[in-house]
């Protein structure tokens, strides 16, 4: 049985749990280091990245997550920021995906939008909701770019890490989560 953790600091935790349950996996809200040993993959939800970082620091989760090289991770919006090796104007957080991200790159909340988005590796367009969303300003060549909005990179995959600027958890579109579960399954297979 596959168990997926959802980082439970702040933000759209319940929504990710709902998506994962709809796909038939066990879920666990991760709030301590011990929780990390019991999951096969970790979702970093949308929320406020600055607030999440403060909490990761305070509860001793930053280093264990940064040092962990086994666990597949999927970050949405703030989660994408957490996964980047570089964040324009700020310290980087978990440093998993070799890319530079720009926070609030589409503007303020009045510029937030939704759009039907083609994503590499997914047949149908994805229902993508962007909220004060970041963009990927640049990636190392090893990173696979999965989607772009008017030439701005908004979804990537690198090794066992998947990240997108938008919020699949705010819709009923399960395709991004299914994509991540495939990555988790491949990783599990490799470990075994």
């Amino acid at each position: 049985m596959t168990t997926i953790g959802v980082l439970g600091m702040q933000g759209a935790i319940r929504e990710h749990v709902r998506m994962l349950e709809a796909l038939g996996v066990d879920t666990r809200v991760v709030r301590s280091v011990e929780d990390l040993n019991q999951i096969d993959g970790l979702v970093l939800p949308g929320g406020e990245s600055t607030a999440m970082r403060r909490l990761l620091d305070r509860y001793g989760l930053l280093e264990p997550l940064r040092d962990n090289t086994q666990l597949p991770m999927f970050g949405t919006c703030a989660g994408l920021i957490l996964l980047a090796t570089e964040v324009e104007g700020y310290d980087a957080h978990l440093r998993k995906i070799p890319m530079t991200v720009k926070r609030n790159a589409f503007g303020r909340q009045v510029d937030s939008f939704e759009v039907a988005l083609p994503v590499k590796g997914i047949d149908e367009t994805v229902e993508a909701v962007f909220i004060r969303a970041p963009q990927v300003a640049s990636v190392e060549p090893v990173v696979d770019v999965l989607a772009e909005v008017e030439e701005a990179i908004v979804a990537v995959r690198y090794d066992k890490y998947v990240a997108c600027s938008f919020h699949p958890e705010l819709t009923d579109d399960l395709s991004m989560h299914r994509y991540f579960l495939d990555v988790v399954a491949a990783n599990k297979h490799q470990l075994a």
Binding site: M9, Q10, G11, A12, I13, R14, E15, R31, G46, G47, E48, T50, A51, R54, L55, R58, C77, A78, R103, N104, G107, R108, Q109, V110, D111, S112, F113, E114, V115, A116, L117, P118, T125, V129, F130, I131, R132, V149, E150, H167, L170, T171
Partner: protein, 296 residues
């Protein structure tokens, strides 16, 4: 690619979802905003005066000077909210034009219209509104509010009204969920609530927007209490910058909100915080001094 759609329900309500489990703090300048952000606030509310000072000053309380709001917007990367008077279309449009991330149509300010609230669906910016019960919450959601909060009794440092409002909404939602469908229209009449909103609540099993606690939260334990009662997050107004040590207080309230069910942790983070804001007994306030009955 298809055209981008702005200001949709998903985009507005989703913005509020991202604030869940967090603390939104009232600030009156850039310096306070930075303290709030450093403490882990998920957003700040830019104001000219915190509610307890609005009470002291008396007179008409209006939208803040745009200079203050701009200063705060320039100082922090977290979302910035601001308040307009109930029914004040022009103040709301001004705040929207400035790019404020969330507008609070708030009873803390003196209402501009005692009969009509804003039609919030007309705006690209999302709105939060106060509610004392499910009828009021449903009316505001019907008008397009993307977030609901308890009214509490602002600026008192007294949690009693926020508790009452949160418990009332929760109890009424539970009651609605347990009804058979043929009872809903009569319930809509009795609550003065839009029927369609009540049907949405039944379908989702909860309010279709997040419900935060606000009005009277003064200590970390107050924040934890409201989370325990089912709040999605908390607004702290006068509680932080009227405390003896705002930095410590702000951090402690954020932690207590995240770990609201870990009482040992709340005990340890509540130690040596210094004096909380001085509170007011709501019963000593005159009818005309109460803010919660503003709006309907």
């Amino acid at each position: 690619m298809e055209k981008r759609q702005v200001g949709t329900d998903k985009v507005k309500r989703g913005m509020a979802e991202m604030q869940k489990g967090g603390v939104i703090m009232d600030v009156i300048n850039a310096e306070q905003a930075k303290i709030a952000e450093a403490a882990g606030a998920v957003a700040v509310m830019a104001l000219e005066r915190v509610p307890s000072d609005i009470r002291k000053m008396g007179g008409v309380a209006r939208m803040a000077d745009p200079t203050i709001i701009e200063d705060v917007m320039g100082a922090v990367s977290v979302p910035v909210m601001a308040k307009c008077r109930i029914g004040h279309i022009a103040e709301a449009r001004v705040l929207e034009s400035m790019g404020v991330d969330f507008i609070d149509e708030s009873e803390v300010l003196t209402p501009a219209d005692e009969e009509f609230h804003l039609y919030k669906r007309d705006y690209t910016a999302p709105f939060v509104c106060g509610a004392r019960d499910l009828g009021e919450a449903a009316r505001r959601i019907g008008e397009g509010a993307a977030m609901i909060r308890t009214k509490g009794e602002p600026g008192t440092g007294n949690i009693v009204e926020a508790v009452r409002h949160m418990r009332t909404v929760q109890a009424q939602v539970k009651r609605l969920l347990s009804m058979s469908v043929d009872e809903v229209m009569t319930e809509a009449r009795d609550l003065g609530a839009p029927f369609e909103v009540l049907m949405q609540i039944r379908e989702a099993g909860r309010l279709p927007v997040v419900n935060f606690a606000a009005g009277g939260i003064a200590t970390p334990a107050d924040a934890a209490l409201m989370m325990h009662l089912g709040a999605d997050g908390v607004f702290v107004g006068s509680g932080i910058f009227k405390a003896e040590n705002p930095e410590k207080f702000a951090r402690a309230i954020v932690e207590a909100t995240t770990y609201h069910d870990d009482f040992e942790r709340i005990a340890s983070l509540s130690k040596g915080l210094g004096e909380a804001m001085k509170g007011l007994d709501v019963r000593t306030l005159k009818e005309e001094e109460l803010m919660a009955p503003r709006g309907w």
